[in-house]
């Protein structure tokens, strides 16, 4: 006489009453080894219905491996996975999906050439009575579904024509629409704009209300404290802590993730930037005047001084990355002039820009940064190869010397310089790319989202490196969607809007409210009102009711291309 299972008790909307809910997804003493590495060591973890559970840890902590074990991408070596108390063994990700576990991966994994609607209904397309795909119905349902997310796009448009943020919303819509019990989100906000983040949080609240469990992986503290009920900390493949998030102090959480001394973390602050600014030189190193490109850049002029960090702010599609690319000659221009140290760059190409002393760390690490099949050494020397060669023949000795210096200086963790870059964690890949650009001894360093998608530890290291470089006299241009990073890192911020300069903040003006003002100007309602400076307070109340953001403005507008 088995007692019938009651449906999971409906949690209160506040999310505080989840303590008694039963685990819908559970990992018991799970271990996973790869040749030479123990990725997960006896990790237990339970996800309850109707909770938003944060999973945090540095890169290499085992977050991704745990997710992959839970979703059937990997099979654990020891231990078991349970769904609603029943032991399961997923041979393939599809089986996990069938069991109601949906995953949104860090990199959007949809089919770029297919339409939005086809992506959402991939593998479960509605059929008409001839057994063919019922396109009208599919498109209609897609529109309805996306409307719920505040995204208005033509369902027939190929996915790749949308901005990356909108693509992410489509991925989310797909994950939610498959009747999931558990939704796993791996860094869902890493490519979203603030207003899209608000939409995402509204959707998460909605999921919580329906008793769906959300596993939320993110490096952004603000988000975790706003949206998550409980937190699990992993470090070096081991389980460190699970508990309510609200009473946990921010510093405490960070120190658990890093395994560092509390006092040390406190002294360094939350970002790796030092408190004081930099002494900038009086004459600019780089001057760009009237950069113009049809539909993308309109008369952009920027001056960059040695020894300063210039922030480049703006929303998605405002032309930040395009400006950086234009400065390095990677984006052909219709007009404008770039000079470095008073010398004009004739026809800007990446090679000419590098010769003039401009280096750029591109935004998309995978697509434009690393060469995954080559070693750490070869990735570092890629751009400097001609300088490290004699008569077209590479000098291993010279390469090894440079590589050794930068691997030590940037603390790149790899088994050897000959390890393939594709096998490293995101943070270490980013450091390899930084090394590639720094070994050119540039005068100007352009950084496009240097800390996106890397773990807290590496993030702090990269930030303090930026600080150090500026202090040594490098001119740094910093692009970041992380407002905290932009404000604490930059001495001056130039704000772009719609491909043109919208304003500049210098000195005391560099603060969050001023920045948001400039960002928000002429785009009414686009910026959430609740982004106030008080979210620096440790342990701010999580999951407070989300104010209606921005009213009717669609969250997922595309890049104006």
């Amino acid at each position: 006489m088995a007692p019938t299972h009651a449906t999971p008790s409906h949690p209160e909307t506040s999310g505080a009453g989840v303590a008694v809910a039963e685990p819908v997804l559970e990992a018991r003493s799970v271990s996973k080894r790869f040749p030479g590495v123990v990725a997960l060591d006896d990790v237990s973890f339970a996800l309850r219905a109707g909770e938003v559970h944060a999973l945090v840890g540095e890169n290499g902590a085992g977050k991704s491996t745990l997710i992959k074990v839970l979703t059937g991408v990997y099979q654990s070596d020891e231990g078991e996975v349970r769904v609603s108390g029943e032991p399961v063994r997923f041979a393939r990700p599809f089986e996990a999906q069938q069991a109601g576990i949906s995953t949104i991966y860090q990199e959007v994994n949809l089919v770029p050439l297919m339409s939005v609607a086809r992506n959402i209904f991939l593998g479960r397309e509605p059929k008409n009575r001839f057994g063919l795909i019922d396109f009208p119905r599919m498109n209609r349902e897609t529109t309805e579904l996306l409307d719920g997310f505040g995204v208005r796009v033509d369902p027939k448009r190929p996915l790749h024509t949308l901005g990356i943020g909108t693509q992410q919303m489509v991925a989310l819509a797909r994950a939610v629409s498959v009747q999931a019990q558990v939704v796993i989100m791996d860094e869902p906000t890493s490519s979203l704009e603030p207003r899209e983040v608000e939409t995402l949080f509204r959707v998460i609240e909605n999921l919580r209300g329906q008793g769906i469990a959300v596993l939320y992986v993110s490096h952004r503290m603000d988000e975790l404290y706003r949206i998550c009920d409980r937190v699990t900390v992993l470090r070096d493949g081991r389980h460190i802590h699970t508990g309510e998030l609200a009473p946990l102090e921010r510093m405490q959480l960070v120190s658990m993730m890093l395994g560092r001394d509390m006092a040390e973390v406190r002294r360094d602050g939350l970002t790796g930037f030092a408190a004081e600014g930099h002494d900038a030189a009086r004459t600019p190193v780089l001057t760009a005047t009237g950069l113009d490109r049809r539909h993308q850049l309109h008369d952009i002029s920027v001056e960059l001084y040695a020894g300063e960090v210039l922030g480049l702010g703006g929303l998605l599609g405002s032309g930040r990355s395009e400006t950086a690319k234009a400065l390095t000659g990677a984006l052909p221009l219709d007009g404008g002039e770039i000079t470095v140290d008073g010398k004009r760059i004739g026809r800007p190409t990446p090679a000419a820009a590098i010769r003039a002393g401009i280096s750029m760390l591109p935004e998309d690490r995978k697509a434009e940064g690393i060469v995954p099949g080559l070693s750490v050494r070869e990735n570092i020397v890629l751009a400097a190869m001609p300088r490290l060669s004699k008569a077209g023949i590479v000098s291993r000795a010279k390469q090894d010397r440079i590589v050794d210096i930068f691997m030590k200086r940037l603390r790149i963790k790899a088994s050897s310089p000959e390890q393939k870059v594709g096998e490293l964690s995101g943070g270490n890949q980013q450091k390899v790319l930084l090394a590639r650009w720094l070994c050119l001894e540039p005068k100007v360093l352009l950084l496009d989202e240097p800390t996106r998608g890397i773990d807290v530890g590496a993030k702090a290291e990269v930030q303090s490196l930026i600080d150090e470089l500026a202090r040594e006299g490098l001119a740094v241009l910093l692009i970041s969607s992380d407002i905290e990073e932009l404000i604490e890192g930059a001495d001056r911020i130039v704000v772009l809007r719609g491909g043109a300069v919208a304003g500049e903040l210098a000195g005391d003006e560099v603060d969050e409210s001023r920045l948001l003002e400039v960002l928000a100007d002429h785009t009414p309602g686009a910026v959430p009102a609740d982004r106030t400076p008080d979210d620096h307070t440790p342990g701010a109340a999580p999951a407070h009711p989300v104010p209606e953001p921005g009213g009717k403005v669609p969250a997922g507008q595309e890049d104006p291309r």
Partner: protein, 324 residues
């Protein structure tokens, strides 16, 4: 199923055979060794100097073309025009022999360079997909060769040219010597020169290479030119051995033999890695396999089926590499 040991132990050779990485690395050499061993045991008159020399002489042009092809494939490209380039070189050779051996050779090689430059330009500057760009000269190149040769087979009597095909140095046939030297040169190019490393980097990630200031277009054109020149050289050598210029049939299906050698040798078609020695072994494997089957009185069709099986096995092994 037992859990895998954390570190591979060289002490257990059987465990090593279960590791897919081992096949990627050494599979093609092991296969060549197995074929040789089989023949040593079961085929009469196979492991004789005469027969081995014949095999090497026959495989040499394929090796030369495959070396160029490996470079192109390393950039995530492909060159279908190599067979036609061979025919073009063969057609030009008798036309300019009147001016002497060296001018005739240079003209033939130059033709290869021109074909390569056209391919490279179409790929890098115009932005055509390599398979489409080189398809144009695959079709057009042979047509041009036939026009130049009046569609006729021409006997070659120049003793210097014929010496290229039949001569030998220290007991090694000249053709084999040339192929060997070229293999070493290409291996050096790929491993030790800036140009070679840039080829690999561009194949591994084109946009990253461009942003790093690599001369992507120049490198691509250079690679196709090298491939064209090597194909032309193979055309000259094949003509010399044939003692006749035969543009209508010389080098037909050569593009496929070359691609097969490269793939069987373990170079992935999606670029970013070039295995020079593997390519040589790949060409050798296909040649020996065919010879073995022929010596055992099996028809050529059987050899083709066996070759197909090898290709599938090679691609299967390569698949593991990509999924990691």
């Amino acid at each position: 199923m037992t859990t895998q040991a954390t570190l591979p132990r060289p002490a257990k050779p059987l465990a090593r055979l279960r590791d897919p990485a081992w096949y990627q690395e050494y599979g093609v050499y092991a296969a060549v060794a197995v074929v040789l061993l089989f023949n040593a045991l079961f085929t009469e008159h196979f492991m004789t100097a005469d027969n081995l020399r014949t095999q090497l002489v026959q495989v040499a042009p394929i090796v030369i073309v495959a070396l160029g092809m490996a470079l192109v494939i390393g950039t995530e490209g492909i060159d279908l025009s190599v067979g036609s380039t061979m025919a073009l070189a063969a057609a030009l050779l008798p036309l300019y022999l009147g001016y002497g051996l060296v001018p005739a050779l240079l003209i033939a090689l130059l033709a290869g360079a021109v074909v390569g430059a056209i391919n490279g330009t179409l790929v890098s500057l115009v932005g055509l997909q390599p398979i489409v760009a080189t398809l144009a000269l695959f079709v057009g190149g042979r047509g041009l060769a036939l026009v130049m040769a009046d569609g006729q087979l021409k006997q070659i009597v120049n003793p210097d040219i014929l010496a290229l095909g039949t001569g030998s140095f220290l007991g090694i046939p000249t053709v084999v010597l040339i192929a060997g030297v070229l293999a070493l040169a290409v291996a050096f190019l790929v491993q030790r020169t800036t140009f070679g490393r840039q080829i690999v980097a561009i194949g591994g990630n084109r946009s990253a290479s461009a942003l790093s200031g690599l001369p992507v277009k120049r490198v691509l054109i250079g690679v196709y030119i090298l491939c064209g020149v090597m194909a032309a050289l193979a055309g000259i050598l094949a003509t010399a051995r044939l003692t006749a210029s035969d543009p209508s049939s010389l080098g037909t299906l050569m593009e496929l033999s070359a691609i097969t050698a490269v793939v069987v040798g373990g170079t992935p078609l999606n670029g970013g890695s070039i295995r020079v020695l593997g390519t040589v072994a790949g060409a050798l494997l296909m040649q020996l396999l065919r010879a073995t089957l022929v010596k055992h009185d099996l028809p050529d069709s059987t050899a083709q089926i066996a070759q197909a099986a090898i290709i599938i096995a090679a691609v299967y092994v390569a698949r593991e590499r990509r999924s990691r």
